[in-house]
């Protein structure tokens, strides 16, 4: 296997994690990863060196943006598994964070995940999104504030129900 393919392969687990957090649904997430890999392999000749990791995140981020645009006019379905009432503490926390993420606008969710989950630098995220670093920082700040408020809101809502 070529060095290029090896470095693509090494990224699959992280891409699956990012895609799942980004798209929420497991099948859609793996579809995104598959399409990312197919494009990457198809464009091997176009890849002129540089950072394979950033490049793959860029493709996946763009694909998800396209996908969401095509879905924008259709009704949204919430996965049933998200409503499991018997979830343990950690599961409930995971469910809350998934829900909080789903209420973020696309660019903010992507920044938050790339920085906090995937550990990319502001510079790398700026290149992936094709925006200045300042924009990345303001998106990140807004995303964190929104998720924090959303998580706190969930807790307040739960208290009120009980």
């Amino acid at each position: 296997m070529s060095a290029f393919r090896q470095s693509v392969e090494a990224m699959i687990p992280a891409l699956r994690r990012y895609a799942r957090a980004l798209a929420r649904d497991a099948d859609i997430a793996d579809d995104l990863v598959q399409d990312t890999l197919v494009r990457a392999l198809r464009s091997e000749r176009l890849f002129l060196g540089g950072d394979v990791r950033s490049w793959l995140y860029t493709i996946l981020t763009n694909l998800n943006k396209n996908r969401r645009r095509s879905l924008a006019r259709r009704p949204q379905f919430m996965p049933l598994s998200d409503n499991n009432p018997d979830a343990s503490g950690t599961e409930a926390e995971g469910r809350d964070i998934a829900r909080a993420l789903s209420t973020l606008v696309e660019e903010q969710r992507s920044v938050l995940l790339l920085v906090m989950l995937e550990g990319l630098s502001y510079r790398e995220v700026a290149d992936i999104q094709g925006v200045p670093i300042g924009t990345v920082m303001s998106r990140l700040a807004r995303a964190r504030a929104h998720v924090k408020a959303s998580l706190e809101g969930e807790r307040t809502a739960l208290r009120r129900v009980k």
Binding site: R16, R17, R20, A21, L37, N62, R67, I97, L140
Partner: protein, 256 residues
């Protein structure tokens, strides 16, 4: 040595948490946090948020990679362009779009160009989101694509070479435009950015290059020698769109 009295900004708090802060400023921020409990609480909540994210999603990275994502498999069985697999989508497009076009043609005589750009943008929107079947004939069959579209459209259709702009031909398809054939070609960059070129016959002999936008889609279009061209993109800035359109224009010029 930096000045401890310079107040710490919110940007710096984020940078501190994300390890993006210059090393010499770290101790200033730490000193600041010791005396500013609100900021310290925010920093704490962001760290807790990161922990929750990892607790929720790291397990996915630890799972065995599903068979369908194995590189060997994807390389061995490259996805084939399925001819006609979009028949249903296309039929819906023709039926649904055709009515609109007919109505538009009846009322909108002054805006042939507007009509044309609307078709070009519609086609762009419909197909750029297609990952598997964006085209009928793949870019690897460039010669065949050009021949076929030339024959069906009735003018010389050429797929320009846009590698200078970092774009590779994905392929093309035949589309209807006000009941006449139109050619549609799609290009893509290494990062998945897509551009489409839509051409149809026109009464306008020649026009200058013009710009039109609708939502996030924007186009540069022009008529030349009875053919009208539109280069469409989603979200690309004007400079980039201009660069691509110019490259297309230059090659169409040479053809004549």
């Amino acid at each position: 040595m930096t000045d401890r009295n310079i107040p710490v900004t919110e940007d710096e708090l984020h940078a501190y948490v994300d390890g993006e802060l210059p090393a010499e400023r770290r101790s200033d921020v730490e000193a600041w946090l010791a005396t500013h409990p609100d900021d310290a609480a925010r920093v704490h909540s962001w760290r807790a948020m990161a922990e929750v994210l990892h607790a929720r999603y790291d397990s996915i990275a630890d799972e065995a990679v599903p068979k369908r994502l194995e590189i060997e498999r994807l390389v061995r069985a490259p996805r084939r362009w399925v001819y006609g697999a979009v028949a249903a989508t296309l039929a819906a497009f023709i039926v649904g779009g055709g009515v609109g076009w007919f109505a538009r043609d009846a009322t909108a005589t002054p805006s042939v160009l507007q009509n044309f750009t609307a078709h070009a943008i519609d086609a762009h929107r419909l197909y750029v989101v297609e990952v598997r079947h964006p085209v009928e004939v793949p870019g690897s069959e460039r010669g065949h694509l050009q021949q076929w579209l030339t024959k069906r459209c009735g003018w010389v259709v050429r797929a320009p070479e846009l590698s200078g702009a970092g774009l590779k031909l994905v392929g093309g398809r035949l589309l209807p435009s006000s009941g006449k054939p139109a050619s549609f070609m799609m290009y893509e960059s290494a990062s998945g950015e897509r551009f489409t070129i839509y051409t149809a016959k026109s009464d306008a002999e020649a026009t200058q290059m013009r710009f039109a936008a609708d939502g996030r889609e924007s186009t540069l279009f022009w008529a030349d020698d009875g053919i009208i061209y539109a280069v469409v993109s989603t979200g690309a800035d004007r400079t980039r769109l201009n660069q691509v359109a110019q490259a297309v224009y230059d090659q169409m010029e040479k053809k004549g």
